[in-house]
Amino acid sequence: MNDKARRDFLIKSGLGAGGLALSGLLPGGGFINASFASDLIAGADPLTPKQPHFPGKVKSVIWLHQDGAPSTIDFFDYKPELIKLHGQEVPASFLKGIKTSTQGGVGKLFASNRTWKQYGQSGAWFSDLVPNIAQHADKITFLKSSVTVGATHDISILKLNTGGLNPGRPSLGAWIQYALGTANPDLPAYVVLYNGNREPTGGSINWSSGFLPAVYQGTAFRPGDSPILHLDRPELIAAAQQSENLDLLKQLNNKVNSAYPNDSELQARGRAYDLAARMQVTAPEAVDLSKETAATKELYGLNDDATKSYGTTLLRARRLVERGVRFIQVVTGPQDINGTSRNWDAHQDLEENHGKHAKTVDKPIAGLLADLQSRGLLDSTLVVWTSEFGRTSYGQSGTGRDHNPWGYTQWFAGGGFKAGYTHGATDEIGLQVADKSLAVDTYDVHATVLNQLGLDHLKLIYQYQGRSERPTVVYGKVIKELIS
């Protein structure tokens, strides 16, 4: 970082010229080197709220990762031509320029058994799998020209979350937490929610801080009443006891700390215990749905076994939005498909798979959109419906679809996006992006999401091993057409 960049960083991090003195600039103390943002965290609170590059439109992002890659041509991307060509070989012209994974030609074109209707003023098409989301057609911005890299979930999920094709880069939420700190000192700014009792496959790799300090990684909120690891006191210790223990701890630490005046790192440890004590109250409260009305619960589908679990997750997400959490990454869980536990990855049994998964998410997502709007949160909250890739218009195994990184749909709602607008399109069978100049990659989605938070993806820099790293690697552009 040169002097100017350093100044910018300090201003951004709220330290300013005068603030520098507090950050442990003492011998025997923290190793503060102002040319490295990473070192500043030792003394200063790494989660101090920071100013964005420019005023942001949104305060929170809810990142709805549809794990396993749903077939968006069966939900949003209506292709009459595909229905017409069902059962025929894929015309060669449609396969031009793509590398497929099947020897001797791909499967025959496959139209699922859907009925389609237009909704809202925008007249957007929705299939019968998502009747509830369809009601919010005019809140949605469709991106029908999504592309990505990779033929396997591993790589493409990594890329979706971190921008890297190999593990090691920070996830989008980590960058946001690094850039903006936390708006609520009692909660992490980056929370991960998952549907079901097991962590998504790949676990913490999906919300890693990569080369950013670990403090910026996502905090997984676990299912159940106690969302954070080690949040609950051991059974053998009563609350009053713990509080006395903390008082003693303060006395012990004060003695050591007084020998090291101005050592902000030692002092920060004391503050961390205070915060931990508050978190023991705030975190369970943040996920406690008991005070939600019956109507709200019904809105998210909590009264129906099929939607209860995902609905609970999304209702928690809304509560976190209200509490200032900046990035909430929600991963869908597996469902029982003909006796096996599967995510959206319908290589076979598309009908059963997507029928079940759509049922699980349709009502809760619709509920979330309605709820955010009625609470006046939709403008300041960006909802992103996203997946690692889409699925092919040609069939696989007779009843399923293969992976499609060449053209699929993702959508956005709220957060200053152009409601009721559709960007880009796939070809007549829904296989590839039709006009390649409108193709939008995950990097572009990241850049655009960051933009809505007031962050310029080209200026969000972290010095790592002598290299200026940014969230979009060396790619990415803000897709201006998507935003209003």
Binding site: M1, P27, G29, F31, N33, I41, A42, P46, G97, I98, S101, T102, Q103, G104, V147, V149, A151, T152, H153, D154, I155, L158, P167, Y194, E199, G202, G203, S204, I205, A214, L229, L231, R233, L236, I237, A238, A240, Q241, E244, N245, L249, L252, N253, K255, V256, E265, R269, A272, Y273, M279, G398, W406, K436, L458, I461, Q465, G466, R467, R470, V474
Partner: protein, 841 residues
């Protein structure tokens, strides 16, 4: 463990097959190689490549058939062209003022770090009596120039706590402290240093930091994150290397080219686990891309770890400010072009562990034979079709190699097919059966097949029930890298924008031109290209300007919290400059002159005056050198994750002090959500209390207690431990059952050792945790706490459960008031949470 379908794939290990005169070895059909059957030529006696010599050996080029002509470029819709560096990216770090002069004079020449290491003359200093080692003169000279004096020595107790934590990664015992404090011999410090360096704990601690760099893990990573059952052998190799004081040069040679230079030694192959530890996804359908990514990982890891060069920056394009060009990068990568990872080389000599493993495996096999036979019978008719079905699922350019007749394979095809064989298993045939049972378009589709598929699935469910009988962990095989018995390597190219589908010019193995004029002299062996031997030779040549500097700087960083070059893995143009270049060169130069002895390096630092200083606060230093770059004060440091856990284990008397062996699974919090397949808690409770470096490193499930304290991530080389301070750390130390359990044990130990006198108990507790006795005022505070705290404990038992935490492991005849004892556990637990324990001063 997944039984490989393609047993023959077990790689003919170079050493065993190299006697087959002349012809390239058939990698796939030969019996498995054995270690120790063949003497290999000593590849290290030859001279290092002549400087500026024109004899650039490229013997492989002629032997190697080019791979198929580059496929026509697909429209790279999904790969946007890399953008030019943004303004912010081009910013070079501001050079510290004191280095500006040096920089100016060196400007026309090479970057400072690419210039030869000098043998600096020890500077003259005024305060000669403070100089205990040459290091001190180099530290003192700039201090005196700034008008600063060094700090007085730390007291002996503080010193031994500091040194033991730094050298061993754990706190010392009160006995060790007392014996050092009371040692009046003039060489008390030397004796202590030698004792520290001769313990196996030294190797464990040093290995942990090396494993960070080696991005060591016991699993493959990515979503599947399969277990790598024998990577612990590499971990043990590293521990042993440090404990044996293996010269660092040899250590590097073995890790980069052990399979070539020590093919008749098991250790040689195990060492290459350094290269083989790359994150991997076995289900990748693009084997050509995978090959590129694997070679990229190896290149970047070696570049970063050994040379301190972030070479990967040059993978996509030339950088205006960087010295390493894209051509340099791909020339470096070509040293790894012929490298395959192998996981199933049998150990040379089975020990008790392997026999036990085999026995247990045999038991499982016997118990499940019937089920597996039935499954095999169902699959038999579809074997060929199933494999074909599996092969067809790879991407176009992978299929080019896969479906090419073996006689026509070139080196690239060989790599792809070996990989394919390694990731193909029975389950892939079973997938075909499933498809045939469901997919009407499948030519084998029939109701009969559906029946068979259902039967097969039932049998699979049945088989899973026997999983408990499988050996828990470990294997009688080893992992490493090999060139599969072939000396011919596939050609390497510069890739446009780093995209492997856009080949530009072909390149040969070469060292980065910016760093050296030396050219590799590559001597292929009968079983390997010899490329990595040439690379290893250059890396560890006494004249390599980087290797020694980078390593001594890493060790300096371990002791002083900040490297002489702060960017410990970036000695390139974008990295920081050394704050004390003479000291760096002195250390590097004497490191090489001392035969690359790691222990001698540690010893000199441990015995230096600068390391012996007090960490006490000094107003004058705070003003004159606010960042303490000159080290007039010893820098205090938060203990690393493993040091915290291991020290708590030592304090509580619970440490299971056993070196090496398969990794272990201590319990994890119930709400973690890891599946039993990912985290199966070790049955033997002793395994729960092993040192932290023995905890299974699952890339997708980092062990929570360590992870929260900034443990290394295993995704790529991890150069520096961050220090973050978070409430999640506080929660872990306050609320973890495990930590509370250790506090109970520690309380029990204190009572056992100190008796019933509370003042003695407090002294003992402080001696264990802080290496000192409690002061009177501290005792007053603590006793006051005990008295008042009894009340809240008493209230706790009125909750109806009567459950309180009392000291554990007490001697039988102890008579205790349980309320007071529970209050004491809380006291112990709290003291263990305090800054004085979590830091070393």
């Amino acid at each position: 463990m997944k039984k490989k379908l393609y047993l023959a794939v077990m790689v003919a290990l170079a050493g065993a097959v190299s006697s087959e005169a002349g012809s390239a070895v058939d990698t796939f059909n030969n019996p498995v190689g054995e270690i120790g059957k063949q003497k290999q030529p000593d590849l290290f006696s030859g001279s290092v490549g002549a400087i500026g010599g024109s004899a650039t050996a490229a013997p492989q080029a002629a032997q190697t058939a080019p791979v198929a002509a580059p496929a026509p470029l697909a429209a790279p819709v999904a790969v946007p062209a890399p953008q030019a560096a943004q303004p912010a990216q081009a910013v070079a770090p501001a050079a510290p003022a004191e280095n500006k002069v040096a920089e100016a004079s060196a400007a026309p020449k090479k970057l400072w770090s690419y210039q030869p290491v000098k043998s600096p003359v020890q500077p003259t200093v005024n305060n000669k009596s403070w100089v205990r080692t040459p290091i001190d003169a180099f530290v003192l000279a700039p201090l005196e120039a700034k008008g600063l004096t060094p700090s007085p020595d730390a007291d002996r107790a503080a010193y031994i706590r500091r040194a033991t934590i730094d050298a061993w990664g754990v706190i010392p015992t009160p006995e060790e402290v007392a014996s050092f404090v009371n040692d009046s011999a003039p060489d008390a410090y030397e004796k202590l240093a030698d004792r520290l360096l001769s313990s196996t704990k030294f190797g464990e601690r040093q290995a942990r930091r090396w494993l960070d760099l080696a991005r060591y893990a016991d699993s493959a990573g990515f979503q599947g994150d399969q277990t790598r059952p024998n990577f612990w052998r590499y971990r043990d190799y590293v521990i042993k290397a440090f404990n044996d004081d293996k010269p660092y040069s040899q250590f590097i040679q073995e890790q980069v080219a052990g399979d070539e230079i020590l093919p008749d030694k098991q250790e040689g192959i195990i060492a290459t686990g350094f290269l083989a530890g790359f994150p991997d996804n076995s289900n990748s359908r693009d084997l050509v891309q995978r090959k590129y990514q694997i070679a990229t990982d190896m290149t970047d890891t070696v570049g970063k770890v050994v040379l301190g060069q972030t070479v990967e920056c040059a993978r996509c394009h030339n950088h205006k400010f960087d010295k390493i060009s894209q051509k340099d990068y791909f020339s470096l990568q070509s040293f790894f072009a012929n490298v395959s990872a192998v996981d199933n080389i049998p150990v040379a000599k089975k020990g008790a562990l392997e026999h036990k493993y085999d026995e247990q495996w045999a038991k499982w096999e016997a118990a499940t034979k019937d089920i597996r036979d039935k499954q095999a019978a169902i699959l038999a008719p579809y074997q060929e079709k199933g494999i074909k079905y599996h092969k067809e699922r790879y991407l176009t350019d992978s299929r080019e190699s896969i479906f090419k007749p073996k006689e026509q394979w070139n080196a690239h095809d060989r790599w792809v097919n070996h990989r394919l064989a390694n990731v193909t298993s029975e389950t892939d045939v079973a997938s075909y059966l499933r498809d045939a049972s469901e997919n009407k378009d499948n030519p084998d589709y029939s109701t009969d097949i559906a029946l068979k598929a259902a039967q097969y699935k039932e049998l699979t469910d049945e088989l899973v029930k026997w999983n408990d009988l499988k050996p828990v962990f470990g294997a009688s095989t080893i992992s490493g890298v090999s060139e599969l018995g072939h000396a011919d390597a596939p050609p390497s190219y510069v890739f446009f924008g780093g995209d492997h589908e856009r080949k530009l010019e072909e390149v040969q193995p070469a060292f980065p031109e910016a760093i050296t004029d030396e050219k590799p002299v590559i001597t292929p062996t009968e079983f390997s290209s010899g490329r990595r031997t040439a690379l290893a030779k250059w890396l560890t040549s006494d004249t390599n300007p980087l290797t020694a500097r980078v390593y001594v700087n890493r060790i300096w960083e371990q002791y002083f919290g900040r490297g002489i070059v702060e960017t410990v893995s970036d000695f390139g143009k974008a990295g920081q400059k050394p704050v004390n270049p003479e000291l760096l060169d002195y250390l590097a130069d004497s490191f090489v002159k001392n035969g690359w002895s790691v222990k001698k390096l540690h010893r000199e630092i441990l015995l230096s005056g600068v390391y012996r200083q007090s960490s006490g606060y000094r107003e004058d230093v705070a003003k004159a050198d606010p960042e303490n770059k000159l080290l007039a004060v010893f820098p205090r440091k938060r203990l690393e994750a493993e040091e915290i856990r291991d020290s708590l284990l030592v304090a509580s008397g619970q440490l299971e002090d056993k070196v090496g062996g398969p990794s272990v699974f201590p319990p994890v919090p119930a709400n973690l959500g890891a599946s039993p397949a990912q985290w199966k808690v070790s049955k033997d409770k002793k395994d729960h209390n092993r040192r932290s470096l023995y905890i299974f490193t699952r890339r997708s499930v980092p062990y929570p207690l360590l992870s929260t304290f900034d443990m290394a991530t295993a995704q790529e080389a991890h150069s520096k431990r961050d220090v973050t301070t978070t409430p999640l750390q506080s929660l872990a130390l306050l609320n973890s059952d495990v930590v509370l359990g250790w506090s109970q044990s520690l309380a029990g130990r204190v009572i056992n050792e100190a008796g019933n006198d509370e003042s003695a108990q407090l002294d003992k507790l402080y001696q264990i945790l802080f290496s000192r006795k409690a002061s009177d005022s501290e005792k007053e505070t603590l006793l006051k706490f005990l008295n008042s705290h009894e009340k809240s404990v008493r209230e706790k038992i009125t909750d109806g459960k009567f459950a309180i935490s009392i000291p554990t492991g007490l001697k039988e005849n102890q008579k205790l008031d349980p309320i007071r004892a529970a209050a004491f556990v809380d006291l112990v637990h709290t003291v263990a949470n305090s800054n004085e324990f979590i830091y070393r001063f």
